[in-house]
């Protein structure tokens, strides 16, 4: 993990004016009634970066986001905005833009009043004049492509439109960072995809340091510059989408990012043995003893019998993109699921050779 460059500017006021700052959390722990929701999380986010907090439910990703926002406070650890220690700042003092999963729009206010809310509740001295607020609202409506809907009420908007209003409302206060809690979680699949692209676009234009929480692997990989994967309150891995997909740090990361097949193997005398036969896999200095090879179904190819690992077709199913074939490794109980193109047809009990295009070896636990 790289260390981030310090905040855009050295002083607090300059950083605010520059718009956005990097975020660093160190040693964040959070306990809820004795159970640990977060445990020693360290994470550094560069200024202007778009990062995804990815994890299954209960992994602590939303809690981490809320601690960064100041909606919750950590039991241990600190939060830095740029060089400023924000650990004890209130949510108002932190000046973050927060977008909620269920939008949290103010039902009794129009779209325009919702967006203007953050500006119009400022103390009289800091409040921009009415005309400036109106101009800002208009600007933001254009940015989120909702111009003309300013006099509607939230109930008159679709889910996707509501979330765009919520984002405009968060951007109106010129936040130092943008935090989104499962922003597309309540939307249907088609709208989700559109909004993903749209959010990436907005981010590239406004350049806010942005953290978004998601449990959707596709969303995280497609949208984020880097992905931080959490499990059970701990940070499993942080990296670019390519890094976490190609070089997963743990079996958890690997299996969380898609279907995997686990092959029980043995490392013995510098060789990897599957059911007693050596495999063409580099042990890369793995410890002697039992280990597991993890594969993705699309990283195995089937070839005629006699090459690779001998196997027997156990079953095959048609899928949308091709076929899923289950192959039993000869002389063992090990089943490997393989994805093959639709043109390849096999019959049950055919003998085949298995080629592992990529194999990741982890010690057995």
């Amino acid at each position: 993990m790289q260390t981030p460059s310090p905040g855009v500017a050295g002083t607090r006021s300059a950083a605010v004016q520059a718009g956005t700052v990097g975020i660093r959390v160190s040693g964040i722990g959070k306990e809820f009634r004795g159970s640990k929701a977060l445990d020693g999380v360290d994470l550094a986010i560069h200024p202007g970066e778009l990062i995804a907090l990815l994890g299954p439910s209960g992994s602590g990703k939303t809690t981490l986001l809320r601690i960064i926002a100041g909606l919750e406070f950590a039991t241990t650890g600190s939060v830095f905005f740029g060089t400023e220690d924000a650990t004890h700042l209130t949510v108002q003092q932190r000046r973050v833009g927060f977008v909620f999963q269920h939008y949290a729009l103010f039902k009794h206010l129009t779209v325009a009043d919702n967006i203007a809310y953050g500006l119009s509740v400022r103390p009289r001295k800091e409040r921009p004049p009415q005309a400036a607020i109106r101009r800002k609202v208009q600007e933001l409506l254009e940015l989120v492509q909702l111009d003309g809907l300013d006099r509607r009420y939230p109930a008159q908007l679709s889910g996707g439109q509501r979330q765009r209003v919520a984002l405009a409302r968060a951007l109106a206060v010129e936040p130092r960072v943008l935090l989104l809690d499962e922003p597309f979680g309540a939307l249907d699949a088609k709208v989700r995809k559109d909004l993903r692209r749209w959010l990436r676009d907005i981010h590239d234009r406004t350049g806010h340091t942005t953290i978004f929480v998601t449990h959707d692997q596709d969303e995280a990989l497609e949208l984020a510059d880097r992905v931080a994967i959490l499990a059970n309150g701990r940070l499993e891995q942080v990296g670019t989408p390519d890094e976490i997909y190609e070089k997963p740090a743990s079996p958890f990361v690997l299996s969380f990012l898609g279907d995997t097949v686990a092959l029980p193997v043995e490392v013995k005398g510098g060789k990897v043995l599957l059911a007693g036969d050596p495999l063409d896999v580099d042990p890369e200095g793995a410890a002697e003893g039992r280990a597991t090879i993890y594969l993705r179904p699309n990283e195995v190819t089937l070839a005629p019998y006699g090459t690779g690992i001998p196997g027997i077709i156990a079953s095959q199913r048609r899928t949308v993109n091709g076929r899923r074939v289950e192959v039993r490794v000869a002389f063992s109980d090990v089943l490997i699921e393989v994805e093959v193109p639709a043109e390849q047809t096999w019959s049950v009990n055919d003998r085949v050779g298995l080629h592992l295009r990529k194999a990741r070896l982890f010690p057995a636990d």
Binding site: G70, L71, V91, R95, A104, L105, H108, V121, V173
Partner: protein, 302 residues
């Protein structure tokens, strides 16, 4: 019924036929006879126990003509009773509005030890007989009560005076606003408030600009019910009031006195005014329910 055509052949034809016939009606629909009987019972019951008494009140009130009806209100005791009732409601309802909002806010938005005990406590006035409620205050503030000597020494009268009536009314009507708001606020959760805070609003601004608008219709509804009860409360008020004519008689107490004196026409005339207030409250409540059904969703029944 496409499931049936694609059903495995092993399912006997008569079985799928049976489900097909049953599926034509929703499973919860009863036969017409049962519907009719249930509706009939409900209507007869309502007519007998609710509508008939209401009509009787107005019939009896106007039995001796319109002049007698008006005369009942021109009497000084009646006017003082009306004034007292309005005064009591004007004090008790705003108090309960503040108490109710504070209590439901605390209960819905925070978790603290003793929360479920507090919720149970709020329901106490509903479950305790009003007479007992009244007696409790006599025991506390009466001449022989715990604070009696102190109050007498400082020349403060609570029992048999306005403060006692107000206290008893506040006690009896306390649950209405809180009961209305707790489920509503619990359903709405904290997210809107969190959004406001994250946008820089202070706690009070958030309450004023987000929390209150979110609960306004539920609040108005609770206040209406609270007001109706505050004006109509008899039991608890009867115990603490002392029935001093022209001084501590509220409308319900005045009606009872008139009735006991066989002044039936006057009793029903004043009663008709109370009934009218109740009808107006009901109408306002129905309009609220019809107009703002969505914002009232989540309220528990009474």
């Amino acid at each position: 019924m496409s499931e049936h055509s694609s059903a495995p052949a092993s399912i006997p034809a008569d079985v799928s036929g049976t489900t097909g016939r049953a599926a034509r009606h929703a499973v919860t629909t009863e036969s017409r006879l049962v519907q009719g009987v249930a509706l009939g019972i409900a209507f007869v019951f309502l007519a007998l126990f609710l509508l008939l008494p209401l009509i009787t009140v107005f019939l009896e009130a106007f039995k001796r003509g319109f002049d007698t009806y008006l005369a009942a209100f021109s009497e000084p005791d009646a006017q003082s009773a009306i004034r007292l009732t309005l005064t009591v409601a004007a004090i008790a309802v705003p108090l309960n509005l503040v108490f109710g909002v504070a209590a439901s806010w605390a209960i819905a938005k925070f978790s603290f030890p003793g929360k479920s005990f507090l919720i149970t406590l709020i329901d106490l006035p509903f479950s305790v007989s009003p007479v007992v409620s009244g007696l409790v205050f006599v025991l506390l503030f009466g001449a022989q009560g715990y604070f009696g000597p102190f109050l007498q020494a400082h020349n403060i009268s609570i029992i048999f005076a306005l403060p006692g009536i107000v206290i008893a009314t506040v006690f009896v009507t306390f649950p209405f606003v809180a009961r209305e708001l707790i489920p509503l606020m619990q359903e709405q959760g904290n997210t809107d408030e969190e959004a406001a805070l994250s946008l820089g609003a202070s706690g009070f601004t958030t309450f004023r600009t987000v929390t209150l608008p979110n609960i306004r219709w539920g609040l108005l509804y609770g206040v209406l019910l609270c007001n109706a009860r505050a004006m109509g409360e008899f039991g608890a008020v009867a115990v603490v009031s002392g029935h001093i004519r022209g001084l501590t008689n509220t409308m319900p107490l005045h009606i009872e006195i008139l009735y006991n004196e066989y002044n039936i026409a006057a009793a029903f005339a004043v009663a008709s005014l109370l009934a009218l207030l109740a009808l107006i409250t009901l109408a306002a409540k129905s309009i609220l329910e019809w107009r703002f059904a969505d914002s009232l969703a989540g309220r528990g029944g009474h």
